[in-house]
Symmetry: C2
Subunit: 254 residues, 2 copies
């Protein structure tokens, strides 16, 4: 699956289906979590509260468009009718034979389907009761979020967030790990080396390397401090400035 610059360009991104959700506030928070993860299609199976209430909209924190476009269904069977794959999230899979996936392990299956223009839905049950056995039956597989067994209960929107996040990571194009250097570029090695040579020279003039058999080790230790992190251009300049001032004799002693 192609990595995306603009997450709204994913056609057939997975659908989130809430089955018998109770609280409008939770539906709003689910919409927010969905938008965080570039999931835009929400379906609600016989919701109790109004998903467009003031509370819901406020909890959605700017993801109102997802609530407005949400489709309401009377039965789960109607809600999944046009889907090709359905994955049901549940804290504890019940007595049935099904594959159980951690969210990150389900993502490749989801993306294979999405890449073939097939629709994939993630089911989430009601706040307290979760999905019933009769509702799990329709699923190709179960998604189980690995959490502390001593405290695995999640808010509905947090379950949506964790599943959505695993999917989003797989499609987002952001280079995640990198060096941030602000306005300055990373300095070339020769700039750093020039600073270190100058530092060594100035230190040498002041007797820092006074034990000849330790000079090399002292140089290594000193260089290691400044070479293991990338320095920016402007940081090397800062270090030169620091050195300039440190070697200047104090003229105005107080």
């Amino acid at each position: 699956m192609k990595k995306i610059e603009n997450p709204q360009n994913v056609t057939n991104a997975p659908i989130i289906i809430l089955v018998r959700p109770q609280l409008d506030e939770n539906m709003g928070m689910v919409a927010r979590a969905m938008m965080n993860c570039a999931l835009y299609e929400l379906r609600l199976v016989s919701p109790r509260d109004n998903h467009l209430s003031e509370k819901a909209v406020s909890a959605s924190s700017g993801a109102q468009v997802i609530l407005e476009n949400a489709k309401i269904y009377e039965t789960l069977s109607d809600a999944i009718a046009d889907c090709h794959f359905v994955y049901a999230t549940t804290a504890r899979p019940r007595d049935m034979t099904k594959p159980v996936y951690a969210p990150h392990d389900a993502v490749p299956l989801v993306n294979t389907a999405v890449g073939r223009n097939q629709k994939v839905a993630f089911l989430f049950g009601a706040e307290r009761t979760g999905l019933e056995n009769s509702e799990l039956i329709c699923a190709n597989g179960i998604i189980e979020i690995p959490l502390n067994p001593l405290h695995s209960s999640l808010n509905l929107s947090q379950a949506v967030l964790l599943v959505g996040y695993e999917w989003y990571k797989s499609v987002c194009s952001v280079a995640n790990t990198r060096y941030e250097t602000g306005d300055s570029e990373i300095a070339e090695k020769q700039e750093v080396d020039a600073f270190l040579k100058r530092l060594e020279t100035e230190l040498g003039l002041r007797g820092y390397f006074r034990f000849p058999d330790k000079v090399e080790r002292m140089q290594h230790n000193l260089r290691n401090i400044f070479t293991r992190m990338p320095l920016g251009h402007s940081e090397v300049k800062t270090l030169h400035g620091v050195l300039n001032d440190l070697i200047r004799p104090l003229t105005n002693k107080k």
Copy 2:
């Protein structure tokens, strides 16, 4: 790092530090998210609300112990004094030279330190303002959670949850992806094969394989339906029962 059966056995699991958190409810929700991820040490730097208020405890949903054990500090510098590594979460890293990690990329670094009994802290800023530049300075690196650039604002507890979840996944011992078979074990291939042979025999008696040149393909198609998913013992029995009844002549026609 050893995988854990009981997540409370992780000594020196990462510490969560909230810097100037405002709402008691959010502190409670952070405690809940921490417990979900088996993180038990919370530090608060000059919190506005009382972290033990009724609202906070209620929002913690059973993670009250984390709130009760939380330590309060006046300054960030005090809060991180005994830590060896500090990672600061921020939506957008400012103008400074720092490595920026996605949460999952920071986890190996964290676990290396934890494995050496070094303390690692994750910093989270105030709800609206996040961490200030002067607070980011103390960090070894920045954690940036990859999210939809069109809507990347997260609730404080959700940021803690996503970072904590990435860590928890790396230490939990649960076999994530597996086949759940309820009370029944997966059937051996010979059981499935015996059922399929019986099915073919009964179908053969009824003229199902009427075109000799298509027999093999028809058999393959039929077998493929039942062999690509693992069947449980009891499911094979169910299928035998279904077959028993299907081949029985209707005696009491209505």
